[in-house]
Amino acid sequence: MKRFILKRLLIAVPVLIGITFVIFILLNVVPGDPVALMMGERMSPEIIERVRHQMHLDDPWPVRYVRFLAGAVQGDLGESYKLQRPVADLIVGAFPVTLKLALAAALVAWLIGIPAGILSAVKQYSLTDNFFMGLALTGVSMPVFWTALLFQYVFALKLGWLPVAGFYSAKHLIMPALVLGWSSSGLIARLTRSSLLDVMRHDYIRTARAKGLRNVPVILRHALKNALLPVVTVMALQIAFLLSGSVITESIFNIPGVGRIAVGAIQNRDMPLLQGAVLFTTVLVILGNLAADVLYGWLDPRIRYE
């Protein structure tokens, strides 16, 4: 197991270096001049030159990349142009909010997706199956921002059950979590269904049936255990996906998380803040994938010894 984890970690390192490089090139080298981009075209060239020098932006880019990497490893992501505060502080401050939203959304996705998937698989090709799978595909096809507006209209305006936006209490979390969770419950439902159908074809299920067990214990006790293996992995991936998927949800519901920071940084042309937010989220996603891999290996010895 230790070797398995170590191997996975070693694979993740070049990817981590790769993403820092891509982010750096995209935000620092390609645009030519981040300072001009930030200050607008009307600023005089002398001032731009002075600011460039002050920020060490006139060094060659490999030097700047190494400095960026060295800083990032030590938790220094530079300072926000607009807010004049360390980027790392801003992101660490916003992260708990994003995490809460992602976890709540994941819970929603599983609570909807897994039962729907099980029902579909058990009644394969029935009306129930078609209904749930149609619903799952609809869920996948609904743009998150539109679902959010629809929910706001129905639950906040028409029914008055939930607050429209903001982030002050648990009640404020319900609607964003539903919106974000709904969008990925379709995927979970489809996966649960296909995985369960796959497991149901195995011999040990036939044996269980031959012993005279009823349908429900066969499914819940024998089949589901194995069928949920890939689902568990996807769950870990989903949390990572939801962390990044919250960009749109956070900006609609005005939730002060990492996603809204990223969108705000784009609007304010605040390059260090955008760079920090993207780097942070991507590293989280990679760690999430790593956790999913390890979890899968731990749950399923066949993977570990491959």
């Binding site: 993403i19 490089f21 891509v22 609809t138 921002f145 269904r193 990572a240 993207v278």
Partner: protein, 312 residues
Amino acid sequence: MHDDERVSDNKMKTPDSGQGIAPEKIEVKKDDVETLFGDVFRAFQKNRSALVGLCVVLFITVLALSAPYVLSHDPYTMNLDNRNQPPSEAHWFGTDTYGRDLMARVIFGARISLVIGLIPAFLATCIGSILGVASGFYGGKTDFWIMRLADVVLAFPSLLLAMVIMYTLGANLFNIFIALSIVGWASTSRIVRSQTLALKEKEFVEAARALGVKKRTIIFRHILPNCLPNIMVVFTMSIPSAIMQEAGLSFLGVGAQPPTPSWGLLVSQGKEFIFSAPWVAIIPGVAILILVLAFNFMGDGLRDAIDPYMKD
């Protein structure tokens, strides 16, 4: 393509089997020949939801193409006396914040969504297929570097990477093509690579190699055509996700810019009035949902038809 290969296989085998037995001449009627695409077409035809999806896509395409000829309103003409009007006989979908006819804007928006769905998905599929086949066929260092690049691209949450690219290139429609192509190629390349690895070991590739066929010819004549069914599935599946990503980017303000009637932008402009004029945001969203759903049904149907084992 597949028939050609079968025929040439037979030709190659005849000299070997010349142990006194004359090669029998088998007559094949044209109708009996089962081609892969014929098979797929028949399976696809039986799939009702896939057919509905195809019809919806065709309907929207025709509507989008004929938009300037059938619409009585212009999507850009403002009429400030007529702002946020609810759906009526004159304006079936109502009017938007600047009094523009929403139906005209939604139908013109279909052009953008279709183009955005098709072109970046096509570019990404082409890039991914070529890199994937090169990676799988040549192996070694080529394989290593292409796959590490794919790993890095796939590690990014796609919307975030697209956002950063749009930030760098500037927000406009053309740059969305670039951003979505850069984001989309990696998953295709992985799929094509793994299939190339399997095909590389097949006899017909070995035979071609033994005959001294050039590597490039083997790739384009023997390997890529056999990957084509899967590439088609990947392509169909990546259309809806490209449409969704464009809508998301435009909604966040880093995609299409006003007054372009992109659906994501229409929803974004309507969100300010969600409580007073909900149709302005809701109707373009329904349009996205319908088009994406239709493509998803089509993609599912195509996948089931091409690879029945994938079905459940």
